[in-house]
């Protein structure tokens, strides 16, 4: 099983995303922004970072990159795509997910271990979670405030497209505490926090059991493997 990890100029977390894919049991394949060929991958991760220096709007220029034209086409045909942080911003700028992300309410770059509630497990990337499971993964962003117009929010709520909500603390002023979304089909998921930084004991968030032992992010990657095996 091959999972592509895209590198744009300014991407930071591509190596961690590739590592997460490997730890979950799949083979990471590096995809380059200028290449329209996805090299027969079974799924794609758009990792975090600051693609194109966040010029114009976060993710706006990456959304125009050659690799994205192929990803948009294949995502609309059912290819599983996970957008993390800047990758989520790329997904909204590509219109694969609705809404937009603006500067955090308090203007600060926020870096913390964040509790999330899993609101929807009917996706390629969340099927190994249980409904309403509380997970902790790192959050690190400056422009993570999710916004959408009232009609879109109503649709997201009504159709169960909100996949993750911030739990206990809404760190960035996101509407309806939205941390992550899915598309109607459930193959595309985007979220601001970083599952790929919580996949290996010793390097994840603290848990009551032990320091840095949190591996809640791993299930994103085992979920997609599960959905591909059972496809």
């Amino acid at each position: 099983m091959k999972i592509g990890v895209v590198t744009f100029p300014g991407t930071l977390d591509d190596r961690d995303a590739a590592r997460a894919v490997r730890i979950a049991g799949a083979t990471p394949v590096a995809l380059w922004h200028a290449d329209t060929n996805l090299h027969d991958v079974d799924a794609v991760v758009l990792p975090g970072g600051f693609s194109y220096g966040d010029y114009l709007r976060c993710g706006a220029i990456a959304a125009q990159a050659p690799v994205m034209q192929t990803i948009i086409e294949k995502a609309n045909q059912g290819l599983p795509v996970l957008g993390i942080c800047n990758g989520f911003q790329v997904l909204v700028e590509s219109h694969l997910l609705p809404g937009g992300l603006i500067r955090n309410e308090n203007q600060h770059f926020i870096c913390r271990d964040q509790k999330l509630k899993v609101e929807n497990t009917s996706t390629a990337w969340t099927n190994q979670f249980t409904q309403d499971e509380i997970i902790t993964i790192p959050l690190k962003n400056g422009e993570g405030g999710y916004i959408a117009d009232a009609e879109t929010l109503k649709r997201l709520e009504g159709e169960g497209l909100i996949t993750f909500r911030y739990e206990e603390v809404n760190p960035n002023g996101s509407m309806n505490n939205i941390a992550g979304l899915r598309n109607e089909r459930g193959n595309v998921v985007g979220l601001m926090p970083h599952p790929e930084h919580a996949v290996e004991a010793g390097f994840g968030p603290d848990t009551p059991a032990a320091m840095r032992s949190g591996v809640d992010g791993l299930k994103f990657f085992t979920s997609v493997i599960h959905s591909l095996v059972n496809a």
């Binding site: 709007r57 125009q64 937009g100 603006i102 309410e105 405030g145 916004i147 959408a148």
Partner: protein, 84 residues
């Protein structure tokens, strides 16, 4: 130098929080100007041309402004004007 250009002005939507504008407003108040009620910050984008922009150029610029230079979810294009 007077380059022929089309100016695109983009603003965050009026009904959305503009955290940047809010922070600047706070600083203006600290500088002793309580008369400034609020600040909103947008973008001015200049498209330069070799020759005076035609009507077709203006139409194209409006399209580029709507599709790419702004994100309709969070921003409005408030003006697209030729400055020849």
């Amino acid at each position: 130098m007077n380059v022929p250009k089309i100016i695109v002005e983009v603003m965050p939507k009026a009904d959305l929080l503009d955290p940047q504008g809010k922070a600047v407003a706070n600083s203006i108040h600290r500088k002793g100007h309580p008369e400034v009620a609020a600040v909103r910050i947008g973008k001015r984008i200049e498209l330069h041309y070799d020759n005076a922009p035609t009507d077709a150029d203006l139409e194209n610029a409006k399209q580029i402004a709507a599709d790419f230079l702004s994100n309709g979810v969070i921003e409005d294009v408030v003006a697209v004007t030729v400055e020849a």
